[in-house]
Symmetry: none
Subunit: 190 residues, 4 copies
């Protein structure tokens, strides 16, 4: 028998991201994605159970790689401020260099497909961050305001700022990134 080609799965992920970003979630059809990936629509169904599975799997794959990128060179023993600074810059780098993936994730999480994803599982990728937040609160460095609010002022600003779609006026320069981080840190710190 022919052997399964991992390249095709990867190609389908990339094609999904490209097509969804270009024409939007609503207009993205299985046949367009298959064509973009250079395979037959029927072949797609060998690698994914159905359209939803394709979209959800693509999202999870992005989240996984994003989580890994955010935690690069993560050193749990460093000062909270430095860890956050590291994560902040990692995340900025990831979003800037993987804008397509990031935009896909954004569209996905604003679609009803979102409810099909096991969020608990996704949270695992970000567990170390949560531990640092808790440590920061214990050490009286961070405001004790719950995890959601931390995300809103620490992670979310990056998502918006790094996305030229939202912030046409924000240039991703060394200086601007540091300024933005200072604002985030001002919001979070005690």
């Amino acid at each position: 028998m022919r052997t399964r080609d991992d390249k095709k799965q990867e190609a389908l992920f990339l094609a999904t991201i490209r097509v969804v970003n270009e024409i939007g979630f609503a207009a993205s059809s299985v046949s367009k994605i298959a064509k973009e990936a250079g395979v037959s629509p029927a072949t797609l169904y060998i690698y994914f159970a159905n359209k939803e599975d394709l979209l959800v799997s693509t999202y999870i794959e992005i989240k996984r790689s994003m989580g890994a990128a955010m935690l690069e060179e993560f050193d749990e023993r460093a000062p909270v401020h430095d860890i956050f600074h590291r994560i902040w810059r990692n995340t900025f780098a990831y979003v800037s260099e993987n804008l397509e993936e990031f935009r896909y994730a954004e569209q996905f999480s604003n679609s009803p497909f979102r409810d099909q994803v096991d969020m608990e599982q996704l949270q695992e990728y970000f567990a170390p961050i949560i531990r640092v937040v808790n440590r920061g609160v214990e050490e009286k460095i961070l405001k004790d305001v719950g995890m959601d609010m931390m995300g809103v002022f620490l992670i979310h600003p990056i998502m918006v700022l790094a996305n030229p779609r939202h912030c046409k006026g924000f240039e991703v320069t060394e200086e601007n990134i540091e300024t933005a981080f200072r604002m985030a840190w001002d919001a979070l710190r005690l």
Copy 2:
């Protein structure tokens, strides 16, 4: 195309919001929206040029009413902090009380339809806010960081916090709102 029977146009706006929120952008069809509004699909084309026009117009209508709500009791002569506090609470109130409209806008602005909207025109609704920001910078009350960053730390947090879809752990209580505002203000102020 526009005509006198404003009730039908209003009904179509509401139906669009309801349908899109319930089954998502991708699955929302003209005929389903028409049925929800209690009119024939053909009638819809009397009020809107096509599906895109319907979706875009609905979005603009929401943005208009949202802008008005945010600026309620706006007093340009009050202190910058108080104006922002007022806007912050207005916005929270609007989002909480108009979750459906808000969610529609969120889905819309994460779709490629976004590019069909004349953003310049939308900005007008929020012009007074921009003037206050500029005043705050001049008065050395606010960091001088450009309008995008202001939006990211002032407006965006509300959008996320008030949306239970994103923040299941955040309860919209008096206390939490004030805490969050303090964080936003810490981020913005000099």
Copy 3:
């Protein structure tokens, strides 16, 4: 608005029968039936909810017209033998003259769609026959063997004999029909 065209429903019934008889149940597709009827596949869905509805409705329509044909000139007060003779000849005439309809019904009732039909409702068309059978039993003219067996020896033989597909050697002549009826009557009578 355009007005609904009853001719199209009729055309779809006929097209269904023709296509199913020509290429079989399994190979009959909605698009082939629509093409045969001279309408777009999409139009078909205005008149029928889905493929199953089309097939089932066609079957019920046939059964209705067949029941009516079998009971033509039905006179409940005539002798049982004469009534049966009349029904027998009516049925033979119907099957011979409506072979296509009959064959469709045959294929249908040997398909799993059969289970989608409300058989109780169909039985109504044949209620008068059942009453005559009961009378024949009471009058000690017919064997008291239950309704199924009556059907097997009275109705079923016609279905088979009149269908050249099954009985290539049976010519539908006056004499042969009478001979066959005598055999059926011999089977049924006391």
Copy 4:
């Protein structure tokens, strides 16, 4: 194509019957049948030329075994009545005990695949019965009405009565079988 591993061929026959009976002719696909048989779809094509060959071969196989069952303990020298009685009971037994096979054959012979079968060859299985009918006519025991009519009143009733799908009200008891045979015999005998 045929090969030595008769177990797989047998498994495919059985799988075909099971699948077709469960989901119907139209919905039965090669891959579903292969899965039911526990082999790959590709393997199926080693044993059968194509889907049609599989379906037709399954039918012929059933007809062969059915013919053999009907003629069990066949004694050409016995009285015509007794031979018929024997065949009648054999057939009833076969249908009752092989309902799945029988139903498959029924569906098959009501589909256009029927025309793909060499009927002449099938007739061979039933040749002894034909000889007995001819003898009965010569001996003035049976009506001289042609072979088709004999089949209609002798074989067909069993097919219908033994199939609970058609005759929900007929219980396959010793007594009912004998009663039905008497009716068939009354129809046939002079």
